[in-house]
Amino acid sequence: MTLANTILSALRGATANKLRAALTTLGIIIGVASVIAMLALGNGARAAVDANFRFLGSDSIQVAAQMAMDHGQIVPAGKILSYEDGLEMTQQVPLIRSVDMSVSSSGKLRYGRAAVDLNITGSTADALQSVVNQGTVQPVNWPEGQKLTTAAFVGEGRFFSPEEVLANAPVCVLGWQTAQDLFGGDNPLGQEVWVNRQRCEVIGVLTELEMVDPSQRLNNDPNEGAYLPISTAVRSLYEQEPTVNITAHVTDEKRIDEAKDALTQYLRSRHEITQQPDGTWPDDFTLTTRRDVLGAQQDAARTFSLLLAAMAVVSLVVGGIGIMNVMLVSVSERTREIGVRMAVGARGRDITAQFLLEAVLLGAVGGLLGVAVGMLAIPVAATLNQGMALLDPNSIPLALGVALLTGVVFGLYPALRASQLDPIEALGYE
């Protein structure tokens, strides 16, 4: 019998009892939906980490002060991370190539009689590079897909240099809107402004910037602000020494764990942290690498994925047994049909093919419905996993393949049984 005719026969057989077919495939539907949802969770966790931690390069260690609650206020748990902590890092830890630092606070900027309240950032000279890496803002009308450079962010003048940072130079760089507000149409370069009680020379103005994500453009204006060397900011903007954000870059990505250990030693000795009698270290800082973040996110997703995997396996086995059951019933109901087919010349393999194909067809129907249900279930799965679930395109062929395979595996026994019937008995003699 030709394949086309076998498929037709199987189609007729499988659709003869639609309700029974639908109920049979329920297990397959749930199993396939679980596979789709499971892979969406893993995929979602990966995508979330990629999106949220793009700024944390694979060569970076983020250093943060351990915080605690005190009378409803968030305060450092131990010593703060100071500018000096960061400054000496490169000298004391050979595996650290460079260190980015930043602080930010609100403040007042004055020029003549004009004054604006704004967010003031103290940073190292690499601040613009961090902004580029973060990729959340871009110059207005930036061509899509073109690579961002630090130079594109500077409209007039220049950004401050590493030497100016080390020398506490009284210089500043203004955001585009801030320069407009203070100077109108005049050239701000070389002018002196007051940043709180510190006089600074304006050495640069940034390009007009916008958020990359259009939905964020109403809430965030990246053009208001002023940048100072972090050394200058720490001295002049704060009454108490502030805790700074530190990102250390290692010389060799492969030795990042080694660098992390060295950094821990360095900070423990600087902060005079000693080992407790129970062997623990009461560290007042935390070190985070990209791999740490990824690991934590994936751990969370993995627990849930395992649950779904177990559900998928159980459902598919239940679904498979359902298919086997319905096929066995079908074979015994259609014994006479099998006898007639054999009498007019069907060989064993023709009968096997017909019933196997019917079982595979049930699997395929269950698989297709399962993919649909799985895609609908992704938003539900996302709410259980901090919004991290994203359809993995590869999961669709995979899940369909699993459904078809279930049909083959569990349809084989009934199909073989049908093919081994004795034609005389099947025709109803004896």
Partner: protein, 231 residues
């Protein structure tokens, strides 16, 4: 090629023994039978006489315990399951008392079924339509068996048996489920086919129906009766 052998069926000393529990049932105790091309033979006997068993052997649905069975000169007594299925799809047509049409297939598809199991693709519909028109049911090609009368269903079954142009058509009580008027119609059709050169072997317990055949054989207790050969 067929003319090289004078007999369509040449069965020699066929024995069939079944084991039922601990006892042996000897359904056929040595049956020899020859059927010439174009013959219309009736096989009579009471139930349990072994006529159904003989028909199963001659139809290659089963193999004899001993004896030789030549179909068109070829020894088919020891063919495999698949070999017998292949032979049935090409050289043997069946007509059953209860028609045995597949309820979900149209009349035309029922008739075409043996050709599909031959693995044929070309001209299948044309040949099915031809066979249907031979039994006078061209206008019923799209109907399901359940929409046909008993007589019409048996005509469809006859068309299905005819379509492969078999060496022999085996009919098992072809009128057994029909009223006598319709039964006569079916018998007239079979007689016509016999005149056109189709070889027919019909099992029946009705002497009147058997009288349509050219020759009637009688069976009892697993043997053909002596002297029961000629009408």
């Amino acid at each position: 090629m067929m003319d090289a052998h004078p007999w369509v069926i040449d069965a020699q000393e066929l024995v069939k023994t079944y084991t039922m529990g601990s006892s042996q049932v000897r359904a056929l105790r040595g049956v020899s039978l020859r059927v010439a091309p174009g013959e219309f033979v009736a096989l009579m006997g009471t139930s349990g006489s072994g006529k159904s068993t003989l028909m199963h052997l001659l139809g290659c649905l089963d193999t004899p315990t001993s004896g030789r069975y030549l179909l068109e000169g070829r020894d088919v007594s020891a063919l495999s399951r698949d070999g017998r299925a292949r032979l049935r799809s090409r050289r043997i047509g069946f007509i059953f008392q209860t028609y045995n049409l597949l309820p979900r297939l149209s009349t035309l598809d029922n008739v075409a079924l043996p050709l599909l199991y031959q693995g044929r693709v070309g001209r299948v519909r044309d040949r099915a339509e031809e066979a249907l028109s031979r039994v006078g049911l061209s206008e019923r090609a799209r109907h399901r068996p359940s929409e046909l009368s008993g007589g019409e269903r048996q005509r469809v079954a006859i068309a299905r048996a005819l379509i492969t142009r078999p060496a022999i058509i085996l009919a098992d009580e072809p009128t057994g489920s029909l009223d006598s008027a319709t039964g006569e119609e079916i018998m007239r059709l079979l007689t016509e086919l016999g005149r056109e050169g189709v070889t027919l072997l019909m099992v029946t317990h009705d002497a009147h129906i058997a009288s349509y055949a050219e020759r009637t054989l009688h069976m009892r207790d697993g043997r053909l009766l002596e002297g029961g050969e000629e009408r």
